[in-house]
Symmetry: C2
Subunit: 180 residues, 2 copies
């Protein structure tokens, strides 16, 4: 017999409170949003980052910040409060990442890239994943200073995904990739 | 030595022409957009559907259609021309899906849902995946008439993803799930 697929009420979703979420151990996944133009995309990435328990979001260049940006707040639906974020200068961020031994991976279509689906997260490491501008992609600065480049395999005529979709696919894939 | 991660030029992406894409065998994956409100989301889903070689998109209810909708065209970046689509009535669509033996899966947070990550596509079947409204989710009609319900496991305070992000994660996951 076919089971009943009754939609869950909000109360049944076991959603964490803001305090519980802040105290939840994260998976060592951080994002760096490198010159992302659209507040809509930034808000959507915050929302996905809440869903996949991202530890921190770094914002560089022209990327709009949640404070006082109504469009981000409208799209993030409160995730800009649950996910920690900092606006940073790229060079200072790189120095800090190196000092802390974080692994830096760009998400881009590039020579020598690794298929995202073949990438496994090492639970003992911390990772910064760099997502780039809607038109020009990840900047040369991060392409030259990354430890690796991940690519989402595509089969179509366009070979481009919206950057917030890319972020969602990335977070889903890496959060599933931890070997227990 | 660290390899060079040179970004690929458009010409190096092996993008299919529109004619080649139309002739490419697809994976038997179809989407049904059930009362999706935002043209921005519809456009983004078309773009992801091109990337993951979706066979057909069905549009029901209030879902805006690509024709004469500038917002969809702007977001889809031409994918509304490469991906086949039809506007349908839900009851007629259901009858047609049943007649053709398509499997119908809703994407929703529901009782008896299956974790998307545990779902494997059977290459011998054809699938219609139903994505729902931004606020109210998949309609009761499709919840009552689906063969299964898939859910994206989440870890945050919100338990909601943007519907175009959900579509991207779904397409990535099912396109990787085919057992060779």
């Amino acid at each position: 017999m076919r089971p009943n697929f009754k939609k869950l009420q909000l109360s049944a979703l076991n959603r964490k409170s803001l305090k519980e979420f802040k105290q939840t151990p994260k998976m060592g996944i951080m994002l760096l949003l490198d010159n992302i133009r659209s507040a809509h995309n930034v808000g959507s990435i915050f929302r996905s980052s809440d869903a996949f328990a991202v530890e921190h979001i770094f914002l560089t260049g022209i990327t709009p910040i949640p404070e006082a940006n109504f469009e981000i707040q409208k799209t993030a639906l409160g995730a800009e409060k649950s996910v920690n974020w900092t606006q940073v200068d790229s060079e200072e961020a790189l120095a800090m990442f190196r000092q802390n031994g974080y692994k830096i991976y760009t998400i881009e279509q590039a020579e020598n890239s690794q298929n995202l689906a073949d990438f496994n997260l090492n639970i003992l490491e911390k990772y910064v994943f760099v997502l780039g501008n809607e038109v020009t992609g990840v900047s040369e600065f991060w392409m030259e200073n990354c430890d690796g480049c991940l690519e989402i395999e595509q089969f179509g005529t366009k070979h481009s995904l919206n950057v917030s979709v890319t972020a969602g696919v990335l977070l889903y894939s890496v959060s599933r990739s931890i070997k227990n």
